[in-house]
């Protein structure tokens, strides 16, 4: 499949602070790419560079086989949706939607057609005559999406569009953005720090930290086989449990203080060397409460019922461990439990390089 957006070895710095350094990223046609990372990781900067709102210090940006590195934002065939909605406060919804087309000198008839199509799609027909100040947050963001829609953008850029909305609206609009992508199949680049949005929306996620892409893969791969400790800890809520351990090659054990975990079933066992210091990572849902030859005995220290699931907290050698169980499960404080790990679904990281083994 051909690439829609190609970011080639770009660098960007504010004064002397380097935000992006030699970053490359290819986004396929029709792909939903999510840039995910904590604040300050450079994801919004990258998006602004693609939009042409910031000048690169080095590298190139290609959109639809066209080198747009020096082109104005308006000539890049993009539409952008901002966290703050960025609707023009003095214009009605209709004027907001048509602003871009009017700037290009599009004929009135065509503008009307496009507005009708976009407002039907987003269910904002009723709002066309209103000013942005008379709209709710969710309505404003719909209008902002509509503004990108009417411009027939080839690539949609979303800059944390749902972060200003409350939880219920966020879920609603997330669903609609996904539907929109299904129906339009445009290329979309979506910046967020919310891992749920990333997991649900993305075809591929690029997890970023300190201006570097840590891992670029499908949501499933990123969740199940995180490339390093940072990705493992950032993705998933409640987050992955980490235990510092030492590898015992002869027994194929991980030693955590006096406790042992049998990891003979780990996929990349052969890459581990004897006595290697590692971090053992296991997601809360991959821990079972059952007694077998490899299980570890511990005490329930805290129970968090969350409706659909129940989170049980315990600890191994002083490190807290969370276990995700069914909502109906019933455990009390200080109950003795035997826990066993699903080694197939665990991750083992080198404690120095923090890379997955």
């Amino acid at each position: 499949m051909k690439n829609s957006v190609e970011v080639k070895n770009i660098s960007f710095s504010y004064g002397k602070t380097e935000i992006l350094n030699d970053l490359s990223l290819d986004i396929k046609e029709g792909e939903f790419m999510v840039l995910l990372g904590p604040s300050g990781c450079g994801k919004t900067t990258l998006l602004n560079c693609i939009a042409g709102l910031l000048d690169l210090s080095d590298g190139q940006i290609w959109i639809e086989d066209d080198n747009v590195t020096w082109k104005e934002p308006k000539d890049r065939h993009i539409g952008m949706v901002f966290q703050s909605y960025a609707l023009y406060p003095s214009m009605t919804v209709e004027k907001n939607l048509s602003f871009g087309l009017r700037m290009m000198g599009t004929a009135k008839k065509i503008i009307d057609d496009k507005i009708e199509k976009a407002s039907n799609l987003l269910q904002i027909n009723e709002l066309l005559k209103r000013k942005p100040s008379q709209l709710s947050g969710g309505q404003r963001q719909r209008v902002a999406i509509g503004r990108a829609l009417v411009r027939d953008a080839k690539v949609f850029l979303f800059d944390e569009p749902l972060s200003n909305l409350d939880a219920k609206l966020r879920a609603e609009l997330r669903y609609e953005i996904k539907k929109l992508h299904r129906d339009l199949s445009n290329t979309m680049i979506y910046v967020t720090h919310d891992q749920i949005e990333a997991m649900t929306l993305a075809d591929r996620i690029s997890v970023m930290k300190d201006g570097l892409i840590q891992q670029l893969d499908t949501p499933k791969k990123i969740y199940n086989k995180p490339a390093n400790l940072f990705v493992a800890g950032f993705i998933g809520s409640p987050s992955m449990n980490f235990l510092r351990a030492k590898f015992d090659k002869s027994n194929q054990y991980l030693l955590i203080g006096k406790k042992q975990i049998n990891i003979s079933k780990y996929e990349n066992l052969n890459n581990l060397i004897d006595d290697q210091e590692v971090v053992f990572g296991i997601r809360p849902e991959n821990i079972k409460i059952e007694k077998n030859e490899n299980s570890i005995l511990c005490n329930v220290e805290l129970v968090e019922p969350m409706g659909a699931d129940t989170l049980v907290w315990t600890s191994i050698e002083g490190t807290p461990i969370s276990i995700r169980l069914e909502g109906s499960s019933n455990y009390n404080l200080n109950d003795e439990i035997n826990i066993s790990f699903d080694i197939n679904k665990s991750s083992i990281f080198d404690s120095k390089s923090e890379e997955r083994i």
Binding site: P73, G79, S84, Y88, S90, G100, M103, R147
Partner: protein
């Protein structure tokens, strides 16, 4: 006294409150006293003024000083009152305000949104310019205007007011625009706006409060100006303030205090009027600029 706290907290008139009200009252009297004296003096005739009861209300209302101040009082050998000065002031103020506010809005917009190379240096220069006393620049400016051949002309005085108004106005506009969400500007750029289009279609419609503040500042500043009008306007364009001075500072004949008072009130009427109708906007605009930027 209620012993169980319930509902709104009871309000007590404390000594501190009483002290505060007294202070406010004294302040109000202090600032209103001159205005009171001016108004009643302008309504007295000369005999009563000579009786020297400055705070007494007039025994008999006499309005003759008002039309005299407006159209008959003498400045030197010309006895046309303040009227020509009023129209001169209008001719100076209106174009000066329009030009300086318009240019400053564009400057502020460029400084806030189009971060060109050296923008910070230019901003610092504005800041510096806003705090240099006028007097320092009067003579060099006079020489420049003389060389340009517009010294002592209407365009000359308009240019001077525009120059002196721009640093502070640019600052005000820049701070206001810097407080607008930058995303709005980004969205407009993606939507295809260029420097001029974004300014006209997106920025100007949002500039109402700060434009009102700028206009008030400029109207009152230029109307009240004496020094620049005296130096740069030339004989034919003397603003109202300069003529007022000429009326009050008579070297011969009788000093007609009631006419002086009327003339002074007439001169200050425009800024007074501007403050009264726009006080609400003024506070809002200043606050808007103060919170951010």
């Amino acid at each position: 006294m209620n012993s169980i706290p319930s509902g709104p907290r009871p309000k007590h008139l404390t000594i501190g409150r009483i002290g505060l009200y007294c202070f406010i009252l004294v302040c109000a009297i202090f600032f209103l006293m001159p205005l009171y004296v001016m108004i009643i003096t302008s309504l007295k005739d000369m005999d009563e003024i000579r009786a020297a009861n400055i705070l007494n209300l007039p025994k008999e209302l006499s309005f003759y000083s008002w039309p005299k101040a407006w159209s008959q009082a003498c400045t030197g050998f010309v006895c046309e009152g303040l009227k020509p000065g009023f129209f001169n002031s209008v001719k100076i103020t209106v174009p000066s305000v329009i030009v300086s506010v318009g240019l400053s809005a564009i400057n502020g917009y460029a400084l806030a949104f189009w971060r060109f190379r050296g923008a910070y240096f230019f901003f610092g220069l504005c800041l510096f310019g806003a705090f240099i006393p006028y007097q320092v620049m009067v003579y060099p400016l006079l020489k420049i205007e003389d060389a340009l051949g517009i010294y002592s002309t209407l365009p000359g005085i308009i240019l001077v007011h525009t120059i002196f108004g721009m640093p502070i106005l640019t600052l005000i506009f820049r701070n206001f625009y810097a407080s607008l969400p930058i995303d709005l500007f980004k969205a407009a750029r993606i939507d295809g706006g260029n420097f001029v289009k974004i300014f006209i279609y997106v920025i100007i419609p949002m500039s109402t409060p700060i434009t009102i503040v700028a206009v008030i500042l400029q109207v009152t500043g230029i109307w009240n100006d004496f020094l620049l009008g005296l130096v740069f306007a030339g004989r034919d364009n003397q603003p109202m303030t300069v003529q007022l001075n000429n009326i009050v500072q008579v070297d011969y004949g009788v000093a007609e205090y009631n006419v002086d008072m009327s003339a002074t009130i007439l001169t200050s009427l425009v800024p007074l009027f501007v403050y009264f109708i726009s006080g609400r906007w003024f506070v809002r605009g200043i606050a808007a600029g103060a919170i951010k930027g």
